[in-house]
Amino acid sequence: VYPYYLLVSIVLFSIGLLGVLLRRNLVVVLLCVELMLNSTNLIFVSASQYLSAGDGRVFVFFILTVSAAEVAVGLALVISIFRRMDSIDMDQLKELKW
């Protein structure tokens, strides 16, 4: 059963990566980052169950906390960008474009 969990995890990770690369709405991009982190959590838990090692379950907490901090700062940045540019379209953020 274990390879199927890995398969689901990599499919979810790929969907998240696709969203990060393709979407132009900043909030949806942050959602897709969350999806990628969550698929990693799924790999950790399934490997922990398969190897009968508790460390995977402990590491899920660390990923969870880091992602919560990332969401807090990321959404604050989104709001700040929206205040400044009246838009959360990624294509509008081109002032640093070379």
Binding site: V1, Y2, Y4, Y5, L7, V8, I10, L12, F13, S14, I15, L17, L18, G19, L21, L22, R23, R24, N25, V27, V28, L30, L31, C32, E34, L35, N38, S39, N41, L42, V45, Q49, Y50, L51, S52, A53, G54, R57, V58, F61, F62, L64, T65, V66, A68, A69, V71, V73, L75, A76, V78, I79, S80, R83, R84, D86, S87, I88, D89, D91
Partner: protein, 189 residues
């Protein structure tokens, strides 16, 4: 029974994730993300990680997603197209992601089991509480990392408040205030 639950939760998770990145309105995308998170929590439950299931429900599907809903409501619905099919980045990204998926699929199909030393999780938990086991590992073996996480959360809290503050409201003569702020001033004055 386990296979049925696994198929159910994983198909719901993948389907809702696909719908999420195709969703034009971000409030619907957040709703679909909640479905994905609850399905992944169900997979945790199938994997005998009950406590992580509850943490997933409370922290992710509850707190973090409420944050997203608040931001989406505050910003309001934006008319941004989902994909730009005519941009070259679209096809480049599609090729890169499918190559990555192919590579990871080869790894999963070929290796099929993780490299590592089997632990004694079952033996250590047996006769005890899994939550007690997790707490002991967190507060005894990983206590430095846990304190580091506390510092990280504090920094993120202060940083989020600082970044998202409204400059127009803090300094009356700040010319960098947002256009919405100046519009409000114009309306009131």
């Amino acid at each position: 029974m386990e296979a049925v639950l696994f198929t159910l939760f994983s198909s719901v998770a993948i389907g809702a994730a696909l719908l999420m990145i195709l969703q034009r309105q971000m409030v619907y995308a957040v709703g679909l993300m909640i479905v994905v998170l609850i399905s992944i929590g169900g997979l945790f439950l199938v994997l005998n990680a009950e406590f992580l299931f509850f943490v997933q429900l409370i922290v992710y599907a509850g707190a973090v997603m409420v944050f997203f809903v608040f931001t989406a409501m505050m910003i309001g619905e934006q008319d941004i197209e989902v994909f730009d099919v005519f941009a070259p980045q679209f096809w480049i990204a599609l090729v890169i992601v499918s190559l990555l998926l192919f590579q990871m699929g080869i790894l999963v199909g070929g290796v099929a089991r993780p490299v590592g030393v089997p632990g004694q999780y079952e033996e250590q938990v047996r006769g005890g509480d899994p939550i007690q086991y997790l707490g002991e590992r967190l507060f005894r073996d990983h206590v430095v990392a846990l304190e580091g996480l506390g510092v990280l959360i504090l920094v993120a809290l202060v940083g989020a408040i600082y970044v998202s503050r409204d400059p127009g409201r803090m300094f009356k003569d700040d010319s960098t205030g947002s256009s919405r702020e100046s519009a409000e001033k114009g309306a009131s004055g």
